[in-house]
Amino acid sequence: MESAVFLIASALSLVGGVGVVTARQPIHSALSLLVVLASLAVLYLLLLAEFLAVLQVILYAGAILVLFLFVIMLLHAHSPELHPSPKLGRSHTATAVISATLLFGLLAGAVLQALGGRVVAPPPPGFGSPEAVGRALFTAFLLPFELAGLLLLVGIVTGVVLGKAPERREAGRPEEGRPAREEVLTRGGRR
């Protein structure tokens, strides 16, 4: 049973991963990424990480992916012919594939050597539940937890500052042929 779920979820995640890398349109990459994230959430459940699985769905599939889709649509709305990634040189591609294969061989060799025939310790009751994770977060990991909160605040402020529309040089004097924001707003209201 567990092996079947593992096989299906891992196959789906690999298919999605190939899709992320090879899709011609960014939007197809984003949807493939969604497949990867969902199947990884299933694998997290198999690994008894219930809380992380839920977070994965809410945070990644719910927030991060929506942000990706939003930016893709924003950029595509401005440039309909966002050229679908120009061809790379053959030597570049070959170098990338060879180095990636070597990296995989290295990592897989290390994993098999270190983990081959490893037995798994029986988990304590409640392993990976929100209660257990929350208890650890507020005791052993309190300082990193607070720092993560600070980091999120920095992220929010950065997002707001960077995402703001660029200000015009001379405030109050609209450029030629371009109505000021207030004008547009009042015109829209009168219509």
């Binding site: 992320v20 990459s29 990424l33 490893r118």
Partner: protein, 101 residues
């Protein structure tokens, strides 16, 4: 647990290499970003399988922090991307080479 932990870690290795390939092969900044997300997720899978293997919750906590950092990274990265697009009208990582020596 019938699936050996090595299988999970091998899967995470494969996904990591796929993400690295995406970073090396694709020129659209958005897809490079998604490949980085793929790599972060594969590392999370490795952390969770190690946590399960040792029946130790610390691995799950580390994965939690990776998730938080990934969220912030995406927000800031995409904001920068939108800004670059506003000024240069492209998100091709080979075109944005003002700092090239």
């Amino acid at each position: 647990m019938t699936v050996p932990p090595a299988a999970y870690v091998l899967l995470s290795t494969l996904l990591f290499v796929l993400g690295a390939l995406g970073v090396l092969l694709r020129r659209t900044a958005l897809i490079v970003f998604m490949s980085i997300e793929l790599m972060l997720n594969s590392v999370n899978l490795a952390f969770l399988s190690f946590a399960r293997m040792h029946a130790d919750l610390s691995g799950q906590l580390v994965a939690f922090f990776v998730l938080v950092v990934a969220a912030v990274e995406v927000v800031v990265g995409l904001a920068i991307l939108v800004d670059i697009f506003r000024t240069r009208d492209t998100v091709d990582v080979d075109e944005v080479d003002l700092l090239r020596g």
